[in-house]
Structure formats: structure tokens, C-alpha cells
């Protein structure tokens, strides 16, 4: 696959800010978002993209795949019995570590964590990133109608469980 054209490189640079926000909405923590962003950019640079690809959409797709890879790798790691205790420890933030803004971020992320991955991705791309349904469909490689129904299911889940409200009020 060819390396990036100058235009693709420039487009990707322009897209870094929203892409980092996307990373943050997937990982829920700033340092993790930075890592995911870095992995995404490295993968794009390493593997290139087709000459006619839109770098802005391509990068989101690479980012989504990197995140899914990490989720799978986490699943594997969690199968080890010793992991469970360690994980809970790591996931419980101390009061000092969390500023108010970080707590809100963690709370919303916890609500999003309960959604199926494909619903979370569709909802995040559209509701947080402001992508159109057509753009989200292209990034996630599914039909527009699928995007529409995944987003609706995600929203209904969040409303019915009041997970977002509880998360924000806490």
C-alpha cells in the first residue's frame, strides 16, 4: 500500500484534534487517549492508505480497529485468575487523582462501557464527534440504516437504565 500523500498527511494533521477526542471517548482517560492516538497515527504511517482514501475517515477506522484490538487483548489478559483483583484495584480511582472534570469523564465513560462496542462506536462518532450517519457508516463499514438503529438502541439503553443521569449526578 502506498505511503501517505502530502494531502493525506495534511488532512490527518488537521484531524488530530477531533481524533483525540474520539480516543478519549473510547478510553475514558487522557493518557490512554494519547496512547491510542499515537498507536493510530503510527499504524497509519506504518501501513499507509490507498491513494484515493480520505485520511480523515481512514484514521477513524484505524483508530476503531486499534481500540478493538486492545479490548480483545484485555479480554485475554482477564482470563487469568490473578488479573481480576489487580484490575479492580487499578480501576478504583482515589479521590486525589480525580478532579471534578475527570470524574465526569469517568462517569460518562462507565455508562458508555456498558454499551455493546458497535453501539458505542456509532453513538460516539455521531453524538460526540458530530459525524453524519453517512460518514459513520463509511468509517464503521456498515449501511447507514445500521448506524441509525445502533445509535437509537444505544440511546434507549442509556435512557432506560438512567446510567448517564446517575453517572452525571453522582
Amino acid at each position: 500500500m502506498p505511503s501517505l500523500s502530502e494531502q493525506q498527511r495534511a488532512d490527518l494533521l488537521d484531524e488530530l484534534a477531533p481524533l483525540r477526542r474520539f480516543c478519549l471517548s473510547l478510553t475514558g482517560a487522557a493518557a490512554d487517549a494519547d496512547d491510542l492516538l499515537q498507536v493510530t497515527v503510527e499504524r497509519v504511517l506504518d501501513k499507509g492508505m490507498p491513494a484515493d482514501a480520505d485520511a480523515r475517515k481512514w484514521a477513524y477506522r484505524v483508530c476503531k480497529n486499534a481500540w478493538i484490538d486492545e479490548l480483545r487483548s484485555r479480554e485475554v489478559r482477564q482470563r487469568y485468575p490473578q488479573q481480576a483483583a489487580g484490575d479492580e484495584e487499578a480501576e478504583a480511582p482515589s479521590a486525589e487523582d480525580s478532579a471534578v472534570g475527570e470524574r465526569a469523564l469517568e462517569a460518562v465513560s462507565r455508562a458508555l462501557d456498558r454499551l455493546p462496542d458497535e453501539q458505542r462506536l456509532a453513538l460516539t462518532l455521531v453524538a460526540v464527534e458530530g459525524k453524519s450517519y453517512a460518514e459513520a457508516a463509511e468509517i464503521l463499514e456498515v449501511p447507514v440504516g445500521t448506524i441509525m438503529s445502533r445509535i437509537a438502541r444505544a440511546r434507549r439503553h442509556l435512557l432506560d437504565n438512567r446510567s448517564l443521569q446517575r453517572a452525571v449526578e453522582r
Binding site: L16, R20, A29, A31, Q38, E42, R79, Y80
Partner: protein, 242 residues
């Protein structure tokens, strides 16, 4: 609260919030919204939800790290910092992990650790990898005082079994991959990098925090499949990796 709203109506409301409902459908929905309080209440709830979803991410894009930006800038000659592979999920305390990443970058690739020079230590490590299950935290102490933590087992493309591990030799800390010579019961380290405990008070934090991009890249490049689950691994250990 949305139980009275049909799936179709909810989907229309959701698309409406996103500005994705057009033409006749939009007009029809707007007419119904004026006449049906339950529909209007759900729309209001969806809009509130939208605001709640967006709020924590305002301004998140302003903090693109300079070293990531530099990767893309024209004519750059930047060596990227290692990320904490597998560490997305153990991101606290974040500031300390960030320090760990920069330390790893500073330490970089080191010379082979002493046990690779051929010694009893090497045999002890090999035995440990042959017989111990992977673990996410904690250490197994070898007879010579070194401590090991096998982390993952996976198949190499060449048919060998390989294991990712951390080794704490007191003065040297290694994050490596060892692969098993078929039939020889010998584990040979094929790739390793140094890692550095981040501080004295918390010298042995979870393995993933030390995880290193180069190790991750090596696994990505050589693994034939994803890592083994605990039961598969236990079975292999019991059968001497046959």
C-alpha cells in the same frame, strides 16, 4: 421512561436529534411532537442526554500531544515514545505512567541481560517459563533471587510456543519474549527490552504499565494467533507444551 415509545418512533426521534431526518418524515414527526406529549418528553430527554454525552469531551481535542503531532509534520525525524500497550485500561495514576513512558524512552534498548550470557539463571528462567502459568500481577521468585512474571503465551508463526515475561534481576529489569525449542524443554529469549521501575515507593506496578511498544510490535509481527486463555495454557503446561 421510554417504554411507551415504539422502536420506530424512538429511532425517528434519535435521527431527528442528529439532524438526519428529512423531508416528509421530518414534517410528520414535527406535527406529532406538537400533539403527543410523550413523544415530546422523550425528545427532550434525548437532547439532555446529548448534552451530557458531549460535555466531558469539550476541549479534549486541544490537547494533542506534541510528539504525536510531530510524527505527521513534514520532514520530521522523530523517534516516537513507547506507548503503554495493554495499559489503556490501567491508566491510573496517569501522571506516573506518563513518567514511566518517558523513562522507558530514555532507557531504550539495552544490552542483553546477564542471564542470557549462559548461566544457571538462564536454566532457571527456562524452567519457570516451562512450568508457570501467566499472571497479571505479582512475581515468582527464582532460586537465584531473580523474580519472574510470565505474562502471556502465544503461538509463533514458525510453530513454536512463545511467552511474554517480565524479569526483575535486581539491578536489571527485562521485558522479553522467549520461545520454546521444540522437544528441548528450553526457552530461548528472542527479543527483549529493558524497563525501569518508576519509583521506589511503588516499584512493582502492574505489568501492563511497563509494557513496551517494541514488545507489542514484535508480538504483532510474529504471533500466529491471539494469546492463549488460562485453561489452554494450563493444559499445555501439563502436557509439557506438546
Amino acid at each position: 421512561m421510554t417504554e411507551t415509545i415504539s422502536t420506530d418512533d424512538f429511532q425517528q426521534l434519535s435521527a431527528y436529534v442528529d439532524g438526519e431526518l428529512h423531508g416528509v418524515q421530518r414534517q410528520q414527526l414535527e406535527a406529532r411532537l406538537a400533539a403527543e406529549p410523550a413523544l415530546a418528553a422523550t425528545l427532550a430527554a434525548l437532547r439532555e442526554q446529548q448534552a451530557q454525552l458531549r460535555a466531558p469531551f469539550q476541549g479534549a481535542g486541544e490537547a494533542v500531544p506534541a510528539h504525536v503531532r510531530a510524527l505527521l509534520e513534514k520532514g520530521n525525524n522523530v523517534v516516537s515514545l513507547p506507548t503503554r500497550r495493554g495499559g489503556y485500561w490501567q491508566g491510573r495514576p496517569l501522571h506516573r505512567l506518563a513518567v514511566a513512558a518517558s523513562l522507558l524512552a530514555a532507557v531504550g534498548l539495552l544490552a542483553l541481560p546477564r542471564w542470557q550470557a549462559g548461566s544457571d539463571s538462564e536454566a532457571l528462567l527456562s524452567l519457570a517459563l516451562e512450568t508457570l502459568p501467566s499472571r497479571a500481577t505479582g512475581w515468582h521468585e527464582l532460586e537465584d533471587g531473580q523474580r519472574i512474571r510470565p505474562m502471556l503465551s502465544f503461538p509463533h508463526q514458525n510453530g513454536q510456543w512463545c511467552r511474554e515475561y517480565l524479569l526483575d534481576a535486581g539491578d536489571a529489569h527485562t521485558h522479553g519474549i522467549a520461545c520454546r525449542e521444540a522437544g528441548a524443554h528450553q526457552w530461548q529469549t528472542t527479543f527483549s527490552v529493558a524497563w525501569e521501575p518508576s519509583d521506589e515507593s511503588n516499584a512493582y506496578r502492574p505489568a501492563s504499565a511497563h509494557d513496551h511498544r517494541d514488545v507489542a510490535a514484535w508480538i504483532d509481527a510474529h504471533a500466529a494467533d491471539i494469546a492463549l486463555g488460562a485453561s489452554q495454557e494450563a493444559e499445555l503446561i501439563a502436557n509439557q507444551w506438546q
